[in-house]
Symmetry: C2
Subunit: 396 residues, 2 copies
DNA sequence: CGACTTCTTCCACTCAGAGGACAAAGAGTG
DNA sequence: CACTCTTTGTCCTCTGAGTGGAAGAAGTCG
């Protein structure tokens, strides 16, 4: 089939597309209730959208007490590709125009293998999804990378954990290979957009989304929009000092949050504890697997291992201290905790909450929910799909 | 004279008013270059503004090579009142519609005397300005208070250093007394707006404005707009933990930045040092005045007193640490340091810069100026005038 | 003085959008 | 089933915002 070529011709059409995306199939009448346009105007714009093929008729709606309305919906053949490149694995998903995930695959891979190898992998994963009959082609793709991005150009800048990616024209290259429009953003920002679109952050205007994975980052949403900072490095909280004169960090400083708590730090601490004989549980796992990861710590904690729980609590305290500072500064309406370590679950959450509620002022914490992300690994890919759909559903 | 009653009738007129406010008198042709409207449309809107009296003719402009243009400007009789209520003093100023300060008076007063006493004082200061012939009345007033504000209603909420102000209807009360529209905001936000309008932050979209006075606060500007947070307490960085298990703070926690460095903390430290005989300079000043303030420390430092310099450096380090965290998080394009302690000047600035440049990542600090505010005590009142003019120059 | 620019006004024309009238299609009622 | 009432969709007219061209007014420059 011919892929999506049209774009909304004006702001009204763009608004209608987003309503259909976020609210699913809808009747003209219901749309009219939401957009504050005259019926005639609405009819004209819907007609134009139908002509472009972005929107199709979808049967009759139930009666609301009078004549039944004809439903319309976004073209069911539209497909978006959501790609979430993590430090150690890649998530790729296909969604329809309503951003529902139709297929999702995950594959371990180290970003440090460089952009060429990574994108080869991404393309083969995308091909696999296509081959399974979920899509005949892609109308757009959103890509998340684990480092700062110059957003308008879609190019990673000075990514500490991604040597070889600096300045690589991700957007352009992938747009070529996939043959569709592409947008690139920091993975944390995409997670925030995902939780905003389909997760816990619906209907919250200003919130923070802290992602604890191999590193630690924070998505910042202001007035419903992701804030990226002057150079695209906003939310880079992994290198905030959490412990004065603490551990040396890869960045050259000491005591960075990331050096004391993150997937990588946790694995290292656990290994050390196991070798020192502090925990039989962890030692057994180390023996079995040859190396420990955050997942092992989570499992050990779930099994009641005191050392593992201590590690998590300790890390949660550190993280909570930093978040407390951010809460005082930013006064968000919600804090979402997500990322690979969500498996650490409520032990971690409790530690973070304790610190934040203790250290920040009541006015800021009074009505501040601190919750785990709802979408897990799909947050990133949904956010990626959302990113490209926001782009494509805005006037050209 | 009759005060300003009209408001711009549409977004075009609002835009023209702001252009005239920020750019001074201007010809129709020059305005046309900036607004992307057809000449005819522009002429119509200007005509309407002239009818309302908000704008008046102002002679002929210089020729740009052809027929000379007729200048127009904002009504010269328009007057805004800018009020900046600090913890220990009150600033009141009158500005014209271009937000130029025509008169400015300052009077010491403790906010803790409560809103009634303070506003009595404010009104008498405003009356004094009026009596000196600078204004026949006020078309609007902006008020800054040293604590969080529920912005839409213009009401202070839970202000720690302002007992008796919680919930006081500042906006409504002053609007009654002054007989003109009033807007209320946190003093730090107003300082940020002032520096943005007429100071160092012109043409910067995203920046932080750290005010170190009796307390410490931070104005946050995102995309040219002040960000106030969910409950109006954004930027309240005085109670971020700067020293683990540090000094007890009035808020109930330990180690808050404000407890270790602020006008109040500095005065206390200096007094202590003087009493312990660590500094002859400070001891002499204590003897002479009976008490020490931040100003004394600044003077002693200027005179080369080692103890005073140490105090400033120490405080700068602490503040710099906190700011470094904020820079990593927020990735601003500029950091402005202002407030009462600007007298501490470059010693303080150097200490802050050192910390920030050392602790934050290069991508965030690479092109990040950290500078002292340019406007000193007028930043607040200019920001206040800007606040109300933004309000009045927007469509009703 | 004449040629060329720039500024301003006037006017005809286009077009988005509102809103009313009316027809179509359903629900509810006796 | 006949009737009324409601909701939906379409058509048509009207208004007002805005554009762009033409022409006059008021300059500059050689």
């Amino acid at each position: 089939m011919r892929r999506m070529t049209a774009r909304p011709g004006n702001a009204h059409q763009a608004r209608l597309l987003t309503l259909l995306r976020d609210g699913g199939p809808n009747s003209r009448a219901q749309l009219g209730d939401q957009v504050d346009l005259s019926r005639s105007k609405l009819a004209v714009e819907v007609e134009r959208l139908l002509e472009t093929g972005l929107v199709v008729a979808d049967g009759l709606a139930a009666s609301r007490g009078g004549r039944r309305s004809h439903n319309i919906r976004l073209a069911p053949a539209l497909r978006f590709l959501g790609v979430d490149i993590g430090a150690t694995s890649i998530d790729v998903a296909v969604t329809n125009a309503e951003l529902e995930v139709l297929g999702h695959i995950n594959q371990p891979m180290d970003v440090r293998e460089g952009p060429v190898a990574v994108f080869e992998q991404v393309l083969s994963m995308a091909a696999k999804l296509k081959a399974s009959g979920l899509a005949e082609g892609f109308d757009g793709a959103g890509i998340g990378v684990p480092g700062p991005v110059r957003f308008p150009e879609g190019v990673p800048v000075a990514p500490p954990i991604m040597p070889g990616w600096d300045g690589f024209p991700v957007r352009e290259a992938l747009s070529q290979d996939l043959g569709c429009p592409v947008m690139v953003d920091n993975d944390v920002n995409l997670m925030a957009m995902g939780e905003q679109h389909a997760g816990v952050a619906r209907s919250v205007g200003d919130f923070l989304c802290v992602k604890i994975g191999t590193g630690i980052g924070c998505g910042i949403v202001v007035g419903g929009e992701v804030y990226r900072g002057t150079t695209g490095s906003a939310g880079d909280i992994g290198h905030i000092q959490a412990v004065p004169d603490g551990r040396p960090c890869a960045c050259g400083n000491r005591g960075c949050l990331e050096a004391h708590f993150s997937g990588a730090a946790l694995a290292r601490d656990a290994t050390e504890a196991a070798q020192q004989g502090l925990s039989e549980e962890l030692a057994a796992r180390l023996e079995a697997a040859g190396a420990l990861s955050a997942v092992d710590v989570a499992a050990a904690a779930a099994a009641g291992d005191a050392t593992a729980l201590d590690l998590i609590r300790e890390g949660g305290n550190r993280t909570g201290q930093v978040i407390a500072g951010l809460v005082s500064f930013f006064n968000p309406g919600l804090v979402v905790i997500g990322g690979g370590v969500t498996g650490l679950g409520h032990t971690l959450l409790a530690a973070i909450r304790t610190q934040v509620y203790r250290q920040s002022l009541p006015l800021a914490t009074g009505n501040l929910p601190i919750v785990l992300g709802e979408l897990g690994p799909t947050a990133g890919v949904i956010g990626a799909a959302r990113l490209i759909s926001d782009h494509l559903f805005s006037p050209a």
